[in-house]
Symmetry: C2
């Protein structure tokens, strides 16, 4: 057996070296794509009748309880013009009204990257993996947990760019807390452009910062192009339950106004910001998200928008949010069904955990949540890599563990291909009972693309693993990210564009005093 | 927030103590059931057309290539009488013939436990979690990896019995290699009966050992009862590709003859014992398993039988089998669809890994494979807890980590319940925008059953986790299994039955010289 394998492996190495391409472990290069087009169906768990009951409950919440829109009068004007009932900040909606408004949003759209080969199509059967977003802390096995800096930010962008299994550069990959909050966004957007050639996200923490993020995208892509094409995403959160605050709606409107895609995300911690029962939390999420999506269409009809989802549970013992738990994992399947009925692209949260280490808990919770996002049909999976510590920390080791798992998911979503070659009747006729398939023509024809080959899992026999140092996955991940950073090379960026961006940042911040909160 | 939580927790403690029941962490006692009746659908990924193509390929394998049945003439007589083409050991089958034969097997059946409250129903929408099976080694964080002994065997049975999240005591939970192979099975069956009051499995490594396992079940349940009811399972393996050896068919026939359920399992390592492409491996698995299932019906029409599944991939770099990888995970969905078309109960393999430690790799691979078993509709999930090291070792720590995850799956498979209470319209009317749900009547009514609460995941804030010793999940699991073993109490066993079993073992082994291989 081992002779056949060595022969296969020799062939493999020659092929790989002839191709000259970067390759993680033995994973099939056929899996390397700018985004995934899923070849497996979504996992639909609720009946039509039960979906209708959730939608009707959401409509009752919107009509009877309503949503408050605070500190943004322009939003109230939009709702009045659209025919909603506005009393102070409280807005109530007739059943069906919001669904009618969102029908103008595109079912799929392209987000452009500065390298067109990395453009991603969001919606339909497409799946885009994007790194985790928003943690104030970073951690690694050497230095432990500390506040994130712009150096960490750049490192993580570089790790993301170096992985063939992510498709998007993300946004606030960690908070660079060494920079003033009112200038931070400029360096974040610049770092995405400089160190990655994939699509990325901009700031939402103030209307001005959203607009400046978009302005930098205009410098990169050209103002006319940006007006007609999506080049930047903004991830805006509902202040659940049933409140949209002005900071978020102003950012949302800035993105929509510029024809850029807002990602609309409630964060419902069941039992605190929503009911403890999944059905009610889902109805609330649907109502809140639908209102945000509709608002983008009132700001600019036809602007791209993404229906977001972030269900979470809580620990009754500590009051802490919990992640990667079963109720949100199964609840997301329902959100997926509801989003598809609205014909809107869906965002889910991916691989996260409440563990404080890249340990068994981290991956148990991470894989459960990530598979949920995959099965529910999410088109844009934020938080695909790096989160631990209940969203508070980005772990360098977990980041590379998660990107490796994202690779496995490329193979998973390729599904089971049925054709004459894969059915392998010729192999059975060649091999027959009691023999083996290693040297068969069918194996030689197919082995290169047959199996996912993880870069971080150890598949050696126990004795070889012991002799090689008895490492756990976290230790191997620690070596991997250091090696990747050491070998990183920035994708070329046009010098004039680079200078124009630096010049814009200089002009924008020249007379702006630092603000730290 | 924290005041409300404390109030909830105080109420919770009072309720729990009044009930007096054993309880793992804060997990809802409503989840504690003798087996799961799934409230989520299966995840069906292939179309009718593609399923037919696989079935047709399997029929061609059976008709054109055939299966060898070695060293068991009674099997060849069965096939001749049934109308198959027998040439030497090679048997070929007309299309449709085996499907017709297996139609006499029951779609669901009850396996009885000595405590009737622990009877399990196998088939249909039912899911039964059973521990891992068959590893020669055990490991724990204190003593590392070593050969399993009868003491380990008993310890693991006790850990299984102590978990509310397993439903079955399993079989060869580890190999007790300190006992002679020709007597080992008697002590294994005895340990299941003595230290557990759940259903269990018997030996298959020789016809005599299968029959002696069943005989012990007769002492426990009574011979007449055993003849009419399933009380013991035997897990028999195909010698893939396309070979059934006599040891296995004799064991298979012993179980069927006694009206006990054989579990029919091919072990196809894609690229070695089957094609490297999933579709072909699935067609082969279907052919091999179908032949085994049919054989049980020729031995005794109507005997219960379980359609087994164990797809695996291999590492091209090392030739090692790989586990928890994406191709078998997605391939199992198809096996599930095919088994349901045959109206046979389905067995899948659960939580296993090639990691040599209870680390991130162990749970990443474990959760991927376990969720695959859950989604594909497996009714009997063998290897639900404990496996690491590519099936070679049972890890004490991973065992308790996996049983905790089995608990989470109880909540997951409860699905999303839709009714007036869960839709929570009253909560929205009570709470309204911008407030919180902690103290609401709806929360008070539902919090006890709302969320899965893991006994091993740490959900504390980072600072509390640090102050408590910065443990990883494996360390907490190490403490947990020691505590569980220290607190274990054996379920009462009738003294006369106990004596009869010991007497049977004494009589059976008195004149049998020890055999060690």
């Amino acid at each position: 057996m081992s002779g056949d394998l060595q022969e296969l492996e020799r062939k493999e190495r020659r092929t790989r070296s002839a191709r000259g391409g970067r390759r993680e472990a033995g994973a099939s290069p056929a899996l390397r794509v700018p985004f995934i087009r899923r070849n497996i169906p979504t996992y639909d768990i609720l009946s039509e009748e039960n979906l209708l009951r959730i939608e009707q409950t959401a409509e009752r919440i919107l009509a009877e309880v309503g949503i408050e829109f605070r500190d943004d009068p322009a939003v109230l004007d939009h709702w009045k013009r659209a025919g909603a009932k506005v009393e102070g900040a409280l807005v109530r909606f007739e059943p069906g009204m919001l669904r009618e408004i969102v029908s103008s949003a595109p079912e799929t759209f392209v987000q452009h990257a500065r390298n067109p080969a990395n453009n991603v199509e969001i919606g339909g059967k497409n799946v885009v993996f994007s790194p985790a977003y928003g943690s104030p802390f970073v951690m690694d096995l050497d230095k432990g947990r500390r506040y994130g800096t712009i150096e960490d930010f750049r490192n993580l962008i570089k790790l993301a760019q170096s992985s063939p299994w992510l498709h998007h550069s993300g946004g606030t990959i960690c908070e660079p807390v060494d920079l003033p909050v009112n200038k931070r966004h400029l360096e974040m957007v610049y770092s995405h452009i400089k160190y990655s050639d994939r699509a990325f996200m901009g700031s939402v923490t103030a209307e001005e910062r959203a607009e400046e993020s978009i302005e930098m995208a205009r410098i990169l892509f050209g103002a006319d192009f940006v007006d007609q094409n999506c080049v930047i995403l903004g991830n805006v959160n509902v202040n659940s339950p049933l409140v949209w605050d002005g900071t978020m709606t102003r950012a949302l409107r800035a993105y929509a106004r510029a024809n850029q895609a807002a990602v609309i995300v409630p964060f419902i911690l069941g039992g605190a910001m929503g009911p403890v029962t999944n059905a009610g939390a889902i109805a609330q999420a649907y109502a809140e998200t639908l209102a945000g999506c509709a608002l983008t269409q009132l700001e600019r009809k036809g602007a791209p928008v993404i229906f977001g989802n972030f269900l979470s549970s809580m620990s009754l013992r500590s009051g802490s949010p919990t992640f990667g738990t079963p109720e949100p994992a199964i609840g997301s399947m329902v959100i997926g069904q509801l989003a598809r009925r609205l014909k809107l692209p869906l965002r889910c949260a991916g691989n996260f955990s409440n563990s404080k280490l890249p340990d068994a808990q981290a991956m148990q919770e991470g894989v459960m949540s990530m598979l949920s996002a995959v099965h529910c049909g999410a088109n844009f999976i934020l938080h695909s890599a790096g989160f631990v510590d209940g969203l508070l920390s980005m772990s360098y080791e977990k980041f590379v563990m998660d990107t490796d798992f994202c690779g496995a998911l490329h193979s998973y979503m390729a599904g089971v291909v049925i054709d004459d070659n894969t059915l392998a009747m010729d192999a059975f006729q060649e091999v027959g009972p009691g023999s083996h398939f290693l040297g068969s023509a069918h194996t030689m024809r197919n082995y290169q693309t047959a199996f996912w080959d993880s870069a971080l899992s150890d598949n050696e026999p126990f004795e070889k693993w012991s002799a090689a140092g008895s490492t756990d996955m976290a230790t191997r991940a620690n070596r991997q990210w250091k090696k990747t950073l050491a070998e990183y090379q920035a994708p070329p960026l046009d010098v004039a564009v680079d200078e124009a961006l630096r010049d814009y940042i200089e002009r924008t911040t020249r007379d702006r005093p630092d603000a730290w909160y």
